[in-house]
Amino acid sequence: MVYSYYPGCTLKNKAQDLDRYARMSAEALGFTLEEIKEWQCCGAVYPQASDEIATKLSAVRALNDAKEKKQDLVTLCSACHHVIKRVNDDMRHVEDIRTKANNYLKLDTPYEGETQVLHFLEVLRDRVGFEKLKEKVVKPLTGRKIGAYYGCLLLRPSGVMAFDDPENPTIIEDFIRALGAEAVVYPYRNECCGGYISLKEKALAGSLVDQVMESAMDKGAQELITACPLCLYNLKNSGAARKLPVRYITELLAEALGLMTE
Amino acid sequence: MQVEKTQEFRPKIVAFCCNWCSYAGADLAGSSRLSYPADVKIIRVPCSCRVNPMFILRAFQRGADGVILCGCHPGDCHYTTGNYYARRRMTLLFSMLDYLGVENGRTRVEWVSAAEGVKFSATMNEFVAKIHSLGENVRLEDLRCKRD
């Protein structure tokens, strides 16, 4: 199975681990992530206003590229996934945006939201299957107590993202269990880490991260995993010193699949 | 082709409503003051299954620009099964009209319960807007008994 793959800017720079381990793991699990050509930055935030069209176009180009190749589009970074999934929803359901975007892009055939956007985790859950994943694990992470940190962008707004229950998600916990570790469920796993605000509002970001860390530690987590480079950055760099180690989901995956080269 | 929404074009629209759900829904739209264009005129029938394709063709023959049939939601028919028959009849009739080159969009079926005044009004507004966008019933006009 070959998927179109949209890595996004951060995965090409600061979050190369997230990207590299995803590709390695994909091959090990029997699917290929085929990077789409000439992708452009998704803009990192979804333009919410009804009169913003230009800022949605890079997402549409990526979506159309996948459509032309008749492939599903896989993303990994939470921000990219959020933007592309929501723009795709607009292209499906908002006539005004669909018309204007197509007018800009002048495609041979208009893009009307045909592409299926999948997060890497959704591929694991819905296409590979966590049972199958479990079979492929060569180094089970037995005994480790791992907390999932979802953040905001994968889950909300749930009507569009349709990723998991926005208030009590289970996909990353199921993923952790498939890798042989113990999943620690804690209430703040879907609360905001502070996002881009950490650039200028350090104190606020700090207090939010502390809340997440405290909550995870309270429930007995020994480490956290996330799918988002910005969440990872904030969890590591904002707030109090009392911290759990944080890693990308794909690092954990690669480790369990025995792909780490240490 | 965008037809100008001019003063002159007042479409003639016939709405067949079943007595138990849709006619009551229209009454509720009325008592809730939920407006829709005066172009819609309602004919009360006991059940959507009472509507003979002849009635619909006759309406077009006499100059209607749109015909809509409203009944109870499937499963909620006052007579248990009437709307299921209506659904088959209308599906086939509409498909045939489409086959003959009559724009679909001039015919519609909508299930509206007695509690759905809001839906009734919204449906009629939508339907009238659709007929406005289709403009006068040119393709059927050729087929009409022209009186003048």
């Binding site: 208030e167 | 016939v14 009454d27 309602i42 509507v51 109870c72 319960s113 007695a114």
Partner: protein
């Protein structure tokens, strides 16, 4: 040629403010056949009706058109007026120029034009009307009540006290319903069981009442006055005639892991069980899914310990068929599922509970024997938070659009009872509005605040998080415009109520209307609140809309009166707008027979005289007592032999022509 009179109603200003009534009269007068046209302020008034009667006499009218409100309002009024003046009541047609015209249009010109067209359509139709004679049908003097909660019990008692037979069909093993699960009731704090149990006993002992518990309505046919109903008596696996209700079987049953429905899953019960101590009948059922005997074939402990020999593993479901003149729906409610509301941690924390679960915890027969304690560690709470409107007043898919009506009051009750019994427990209520219309209701709520010191905060809660063994409640106080972060021990969610999920299936069987929230629709929101638009079907309790106990009991009584009014009749006048087949046109093809939902069409071989040709033909025959007048057959008939009286092909076509003219 008919002589038609047209009467245009002003309805005060309801019609006249938007429709130029005089112009409608003028236009109607010009229509062929119209010999009289006039308008009046209120046609439905005695004076208005007199005008109709006088005109009929003076001008020898044969057909009447009234341009007024919906025929669903006053068609009968005007038909009776016509009858009193000596013409057939079915010679009356209504042009609905209020609900379908004046009330929805603002422009007078447009509305008047439309009113004229609607009047023309009615005139065109009445021109083709023919006098119709209504027949009669029998009334079976027995009523069915579906649901054995307080609504159903009260309705049944009232019907039975009036001297009519009544059957209650209850799905669960005992009557009692939701009320039996409540601890105390507002606003007087009566013990729920203390006031309900006597009614249950009375119903069970009443000679006119027959109770089918652990039974469901399976099939309904027929119509007002004469319904035929199949009732499935689910296999109880216990012989009701032998069981003495000693309870030994429940004690000895080795399978005790099934979640107790009665205690909302807060504890477990045995596989053979009666739901609660006061259950009626006091005969247990075997829950076959949890019974070891049924699962493995081994066990049989209950049969061994039963001295009466009442256990019957071989028992099968039984179908009972009964006839009823009237059916009352009293199917009640349940609380909504909260799996969509995990910001309150309902799925993850056992200390976040619904109000109904709290009722069970507070109840002496409940899972904690009435001790207020946390379900996680069985410690008494020091602080409790109540959150209002969980799933009520929601515009999104998660919840319900309506106000559940009872939550404000029961929350005040809970808060008050807790503060009364455990004065050291801090109680906080987050609310959007406190809604307490009702006799002594607001006073009750104020007592909770003023006498019992319950802390009411106007604002909502955004998240409940488990931190250590506490719950962290993150809310907002809208009056002080400040964030509230408080640790508490228990959170109680005032969960929205919804109609019993089975009601849609039942409504379909009864062909009773139901709204988008699954509440049964009443015939008229104000004037016929306990009747379904389907004749012979009546509504009692929450199946019609959210209600508290006093309202439910009042409505149950009202439904009973309507049923008694129906059963008191010896026969009913049937709708004469039924199908009729022209035997000279009938091909005998059976298409009509196939689509008739009432089996009202049969075929006979008979000699017909077709313009001098006498021959034997197979022709359709409509049983007008069975026909309900839907008209399905008229369209199935290719030759046009089948027509519907009162809504004939030519009448409807005349309306079409008049509208499209």
């Amino acid at each position: 040629m008919q002589r038609i009179g047209v009467f245009v109603c002003h309805c005060g200003s309801n019609i006249a403010a938007t429709v130029d009534v005089a112009r409608v009269v003028e236009a109607a007068a010009k229509e062929p056949g119209v010999v009289h046209a006039e308008d009046y302020a209120y046609m439905c008034s005695e004076a208005g009706q007199l005008k109709i009667r006088e005109a009929i006499k003076e001008k020898n009218l044969t057909g009447i058109v009234v341009c007024s409100c919906s025929p669903r309002m006053h068609e009968n009024t005007f038909r009776q007026a016509a009858e009193r003046a000596g013409i057939n009541p079915y010679m009356v047609e209504i042009a609905n120029i209020r609900e379908h015209c004046s009330w929805i249009h603002k422009d007078m010109e447009e509305a008047t034009e439309k009113a004229v067209i609607l009047a023309r359509a009615a005139i065109a139709k009445v021109t083709l009307n023919a006098p119709l004679q209504a027949g009669t049908s029998r009334v079976v003097k027995r009523a069915l009540v579906i649901g054995g909660g307080i609504a159903g019990i009260q309705t049944a008692l009232d019907i039975a006290d009036a001297g009519y037979e009544v059957d209650i069909v209850e799905k669960t093993p005992s009557i009692g319903g939701r009320m039996s699960q409540l601890d105390k009731t507002f606003p007087t704090l009566d013990c729920s069981a203390c006031i309900l149990t006597p009614k249950m006993v009375e119903a069970a002992a009443h000679e006119k009442i027959h109770i089918y518990t652990y039974s469901e309505v399976e099939k309904v046919s027929g119509f007002v006055g004469d319904f035929t109903v199949d009732i499935r008596k689910k296999a109880r696996s216990v012989d009701m005639s032998k069981c003495t209700g000693c309870g030994v079987c429940q004690e000895k049953c080795p399978s005790k892991k099934a979640p107790s429905e009665f205690n909302r899953g807060l504890n477990t019960r045995s596989a053979i069980y009666t739901p609660f101590a006061q259950a009626i009948p006091n005969v247990p059922v075997i829950d076959r899914e949890n019974c070891i005997k049924f699962k493995t074939g081994k066990c049989g402990v209950c049969a061994k310990v039963c001295q009466a020999g009442a256990i019957d593993y071989e028992q099968k479901d039984e179908i009972v068929t009964e006839n009823y003149g009237a059916i009352v729906v009293a199917t009640g409610f349940d609380t909504i599922k909260l799996d969509q509301y995990d910001e309150y941690s309902y799925s993850t924390s056992p200390d976040v509970i619904t109000s109904l679960e709290l009722e069970r915890i507070m109840n002496a027969a409940g899972p904690t024997k009435g001790h207020l304690e946390r379900m996680s560690d069985h410690k008494p709470p020091k602080s409790m938070v109540f959150i209002q409107c969980v799933g009520s007043r929601c515009a999104d898919k998660r919840g319900k659009s309506y106000c559940s009506k009872i939550c404000c009051m029961y929350t005040a009750k809970h808060a008050m009872l807790i503060r009364d019994k455990y004065p050291d427990v801090e109680v906080t209520v987050f609310y959007i509005d406190v809604r307490t219309p009702g006799k002594n209701f607001d006073e009750f709520y104020r007592r909770a605040v003023e006498e019992y010191g319950v802390n009411y905060i106007k604002g909502q809660v955004g998240k409940v998080a488990e931190i250590g063994d506490k719950l962290l409640v993150q809310g907002v106080d809208l009056i002080d415009n400040k964030r509230i972060l408080m640790e508490t021990d228990m959170v109680v969610l005032a969960t929205a109520i919804e109609p019993n999920p089975d009601v849609r299936k039942i409504a379909t069987m009864l062909t009773a209307s139901i709204d988008t929230n699954n509440f049964l629709t009443e015939s008229h929101a104000k004037l016929r609140p306990v009747e379904s638009p389907t004749a012979g079907i009546f509504l009692s309790g929450v199946c019609q809309g959210p209600k508290d106990i006093p309202e439910t009991v009042a409505q149950a009584g009202a439904a009973a009166v309507k049923v008694v009014g129906l059963l008191a009749k010896d026969h009913l006048v049937t709708n004469p707008c039924v199908a009729k087949s022209d035997e000279l046109l009938c091909n005998g093809c059976s298409s009509c027979e196939k689509v008739c939902p009432y089996g009202a069409i049969s075929y006979v071989e008979k000699e017909v005289n077709d313009h001098g040709i006498r021959e034997n033909r197979r022709v359709a025959l409509v049983n007008s007592a069975l026909c309900q007048g839907c008209g399905a057959c008229t369209v199935a008939c290719p030759s046009g032999a089948m027509d519907l009286q009162g809504f004939s092909n030519r009448q409807i076509l005349a309306e079409v022509d008049a509208i499209c003219r």
